[in-house]
């Protein structure tokens, strides 16, 4: 198998500090192996920038295995790029054609201010979690695992919701910059399990109010979040959150 190389034109959002106005810069990504990941391609571009004495493009990343939720940028108008159910670090350059122009922007939401270039501050998600995305039971020593029985189907549902890596692609993809898929996933994965039930009512109330305070938009069921989520979290999690909210508010 021979390695193919491609050359791309990149239009990258560069922004110095969150307050300063940013703008697009044009770079050429030369002789990029199609076996590289998108982030490795950016690494190559950055090496060239450093060698020529220029500031490298800042972007977030950590595990590069698609499970940490750290990376992400809007590539050609889609969160994490054109490939479904894939984080940016797992998007490979074989999905691009030689000569393509690729536009790379940070997540754009008032609740996610730009720190630098493609790096945004997602601590708003941490604040939502801190508002109730946990169980406060004192666990003590680990009890026998079979003490609390959880049906396989319920466990699977909870796991599907827990697959959310908190990357923020839902907010980036939502035409309204709403965080409801993220919050729905958290409400679901805790609320489906017996350990999460005792605090279900207070959790949904406080997490939703935290989300509202932080300046996220409102869900209008565009379902772009579900379509662009790298973990394909379903909007059924939002419906479950809505249900929990109605239960918590009117009873």
């Amino acid at each position: 198998m021979s390695t193919k190389t491609i050359t791309l034109t990149l239009k990258v959002w560069r922004q110095n500090r969150s307050r300063k106005k940013g703008g697009f810069e044009i770079y050429t990504a030369r002789d990029i192996s199609t076996d590289m990941s998108f982030l490795e391609m950016l690494d190559v571009v950055n090496e060239d920038l450093v060698l020529s004495g220029k500031e490298p493009i800042a972007f977030d990343h950590d595990c590069r295995e698609g499970i940490c939720g750290m990376c992400g940028a809007v590539v050609d108008g889609q969160a994490h790029g054109p490939l479904k159910e894939t984080t940016l670090c797992q998007l490979h350059m074989r999905h691009f054609k030689n000569g393509d122009t690729v536009v790379i922007e940070p997540w754009r939401a008032r609740a996610f201010p730009v720190v630098k270039d493609l790096v945004v501050d997602r601590s708003a998600f941490d604040k939502i979690i801190a508002a109730g995305g946990y169980i406060s039971a004192k666990t003590g020593g680990a009890q026998d695992a079979n003490n609390i029985l959880v049906g396989k189907e319920v466990a699977d549902k909870a796991f599907n919701a827990a697959a959310c890596i908190g990357c923020g692609a839902c907010v980036a993809a939502c035409p309204n910059a709403s965080a409801m898929l993220f919050v729905g996933a958290k409400i679901s994965h805790l609320g489906l399990l017996p350990q999460g039930r005792p605090e279900a009512k207070t959790r949904v109330q406080s997490m939703i109010r935290a989300m509202d305070r932080l300046g996220f938009g409102n869900c209008s069921n565009e379902t772009e979040c579900e379509a662009q989520c790298p973990k394909s979290i379903s909007i059924r999690e939002i419906a479950r959150m809505n249900r929990e909210f109605v239960k918590a508010s009117f009873s």
Partner: protein
């Protein structure tokens, strides 16, 4: 009552208001279409009889009108608040946006079709509800209105806006009140399309039928 008002101040509370009032409008518009089907009778007596029958229940009509007005106030103001909040939630827009396959024409245009419907309702009320029928029948008013090309075009366009709005609104309201189940959602989505087509064709052909065919 504090908890009650507080509930509807949240994003989810506003969403619920949109869904429930929207459901109310759907109920109304279906009954409205059933009534207006009398216009297709090919004989003005049928429609005039229907109008006369309606006016026998003056008190009931008044209650319904007050109810619909309240729904409209809630739906429009909440919708406007949500629209403005959603715009400010993304102060810097994307240079490139591409759908991942979620958006539909309906979902992307809800505020705009909504505004078009609001403007149309005002026109529609002034055309018919507040029409002077002292020396003519309601059918005469309908026939006179649709004798104009402009009115035919405006009405058909408005009906298309309603159909697009309902296409997204119907399944969406179930999602909002938390009723999204893998067993039923495909059916609800299909009913959304069916309802949009039925309302679109049912209402949309009235101006054409009255103005051109009859």
């Amino acid at each position: 009552m504090n908890w009650f008002i507080d509930t509807f101040r949240t994003s989810l509370g506003k969403k619920l208001l949109m869904a429930v009032t929207g459901l109310g409008f759907l109920g109304f518009i279906i009954v409205h279409l059933l009534g207006n089907l009398t216009l297709y009778a090919g004989h003005e007596g049928v429609f005039n009889a229907y109008v006369a029958k309606l006016h026998q229940y003056e008190a009931l009509i008044l209650v319904a009108e007050i109810g619909l007005f309240a729904l409209a106030v809630i739906h429009v103001t909440t919708g406007l608040l949500l629209f403005l909040a959603n715009r400010s939630a993304r102060s810097v827009r994307y240079a490139v946006t591409k759908s991942g396959g979620g958006r539909t024409v309906g979902s992307a245009t809800m505020p705009y079709t909504g505004l078009a419907i609001l403007l149309f309702v005002i026109l529609h009320l002034s055309n018919f509800t507040f029409a002077d029928v002292t020396d003519r029948t309601m059918y005469d008013v309908v026939a006179a209105t649709f004798s104009s090309w402009i009115y035919i075009i405006v009405y058909v366009a408005a009906v298309v806006a309603v159909a697009i709005h309902v296409r997204h609104g119907f399944w969406s309201l179930f999602q909002t009140i938390g009723l999204n189940h893998e067993k039923y959602m495909p059916a609800l989505r299909a009913i959304s399309v069916a309802l949009a087509v039925i309302l679109g064709v049912g209402f949309g052909l009235i101006p054409i039928y009255i103005g051109i065919i009859v």
